[in-house]
Symmetry: C2
Subunit: 377 residues, 2 copies
């Protein structure tokens, strides 16, 4: 039996409620399987860690994360630790990403079930068939470049941040995008997004993406969009960006959030943040496996509904599926979860259970949704 260590970081707000359901799903898979054993351990992280020990990413948590095969996170933050606090939950997340080298953020925006089309803010004709995977560079760019705060140094009354990229940083994220494109048959198209008509870092981005794909993955289709024009396309005609959106940290932050509202509820969507450097050799092995990975739903800690047991656990459960796929290499279990989620959501007419949590206009509770998915599995 192969043993995997998975660290669980429930975090703040609804985090503990939604991770509880995803943990049950992982436990059931571990129990049912002949050949794997998933060992789960819970650690403090985010605002609750600030309250408990004064910092969002305690050393013990970081150590556990470094030693684990993968990390499942809930959500962090809340008004209690607002923008003006000295120590903030988000700093813990940014530090964790950097410490583990999680440079590849993967965020699908698609319909877990066709029956959710009615929930989209877009017209059904516009939203139907949208199937986008955003691959966002996560530990470079303006997030981690040099910066100067107001009131310090020379130029007291100014503040600045540096948006910086190097060739190897862009190469490795391009390769991750390529590996993900190759996992589909036929391979997905790659849409690289930048602001090359203004920014030097974007001109580097465009050049390196183009050369890396031409040289190492000539079979993949590539096009380029300016970020302003991509932000329009995501609303006006998102199917045009079906496939992989490949972009830098800040643009990825904005565009992945923008595209994630298409499926109608943030509660539905998972994410993965991966380390591990696919080299040219990996091009021969589409089953790219991450050396470290953090998996979390894309929604926030939703303090307004925390503690009520009504949050949608699907984003976290689908994050657990991504964990099985990318970190543990267990594609068949990942698909089993995705199918179970689809069945829980599908209309009765399509043979599903038509469960709807509050975010989807229903009254099904967090635990009921978890129960049903576990039952289907």
């Amino acid at each position: 039996k192969k043993t995997f260590r998975v660290v669980v970081l429930p975090g703040d707000g609804i985090g503990p409620e939604v991770t509880a359901e995803a943990v049950r799903v992982l436990e059931i898979i571990s129990a049912a399987s002949q050949d794997i054993d998933i060992k789960l351990e819970t650690h403090q992280f985010g605002g609750s860690a600030i309250d408990a020990v004064g910092e969002p990413l305690p050393a013990a948590t970081l150590k556990a994360c470094q030693e684990a095969d993968a990390i499942l996170m809930g959500s962090i933050g809340g008004p209690k630790w607002g923008v003006n606090s000295k120590v903030r939950p988000e700093q813990g997340l940014l530090s964790l990403r950097k410490a583990l080298g999680l440079y590849a953020n993967i965020r699908p925006a698609n319909f877990a079930s066709k029956s959710l089309l009615a929930n989209s803010p877009l017209k059904p004709t516009v939203a139907e068939g949208v199937d986008i995977i955003v691959v966002r560079e996560l530990i470079g760019g303006v997030y981690f470049g040099a910066r100067k705060e107001l009131g310090t140094g020379p130029d007291e009354d100014a503040a600045w941040d540096t948006m910086v990229y190097s060739i190897p940083e862009v190469q490795r994220i391009t390769r991750v995008a390529a590996q993900i494109a190759l996992q589909a048959n036929p391979p997905l198209a790659i849409h690289s997004i930048d602001k090359a008509n203004v920014l030097a870092s974007s001109r580097l981005w465009r050049k390196v993406v183009t050369e890396t794909l031409e040289k190492e993955y000539p079979q993949l289709k590539l096009d380029h969009h300016l970020v302003d024009s991509a932000s329009m396309l995501i609303v006006a005609n998102p199917r045009k960006l079906n496939g992989v959106i490949l972009t830098e940290n800040l643009f990825g932050d904005i565009l992945s959030d923008e595209s994630s509202v298409i499926p109608g509820s943030l509660g539905l969507l998972p994410s993965a943040s991966l380390a591990g450097a696919p080299s040219v050799a990996d091009a021969l092995d589409p089953a790219f496996k991450a050396t470290s990975g953090l998996y979390e739903p894309i929604h926030g800690s939703a303090p307004d509904i925390a503690g009520q047991g009504i949050a949608n656990p699907i984003g976290t459960i689908l994050s657990a599926a991504m964990l099985l796929r990318y970190s543990l290499g267990l594609e068949k279990y990942a698909q089993a979860i995705e199918n179970a989620v689809r069945k829980a959501l599908d209309d009765k007419a399509a043979g599903g259970h038509e469960l709807r949590t509050a975010d989807l206009g229903g009254s099904v509770k967090t635990k009921e949704m978890g129960d049903k998915i576990v039952e289907i599995l």
Copy 2:
């Protein structure tokens, strides 16, 4: 009779076709009015200027723009002068903005006529009543900070850009947003957008916006959104951002384009880029008047349909209305144009002419639309 000099920069692609109609509208107003005389002169700009004299912003054009009361532009750019060309049309636009000090970009996203709701990619229930004015800082931030290209200097294999803001830069754009908010009755809410949980320049932004409004415009409502969350809201629930969106250059580039697809066609929307510094004293005078202004439709040069006479001239005609409002101080003529445009677009059932150009799914030509608006005026 008061005389105004207006420079017209038709530019590239459909630019000459759409400016021709807006020029007719300005001419009719000038001819009909007892007290004003608008003198129009045309100059070379953009790709066509590159072809003619080797640079996108010839000295004669810049001089004319500097001496004019206002500038009406069509659109620039095209595949002929692509991202890899040495001299590019967009450089001319960026230089013109900087040279004239056009720091305040104003972009409304609303429905020129209720009958256009059906054209929105958003569900009617989501799009109805959206009425947003984006106020974007236009000559600061990462557009004009120091940068380093790939292959130069130390760190040969890296490239960077600097996102930089100073206190006075943020103060003046905040005041423009406030003046615009005060032009409505009751005053509009101000939604300031930044990424203060990551960026130093955004922390400065948030602090200065808050302090300026608290001190100088305490009657205005202000809230703050992170740029990722704002990009979601614009799709999921845009009415929540009704009022003024106040943001920095790059975020404004992305968010103004994103919100501009709500009304269903880019062909409908105008923009203004203003210089002139409203001081604290102006707070007493809501009729803020720009010292220099560039007005242009938000759409591009659309090379695919150029020369066919089918482009929608409304974005440019409404830009002429903004020109009358902000640069010439002729509010009543601005409103007359806006009413004429509404009438041309309104359903027959609502007493309108229901004209639809190709972008709106119809077959009305550029000139026919111009004819009708001139006729109504």
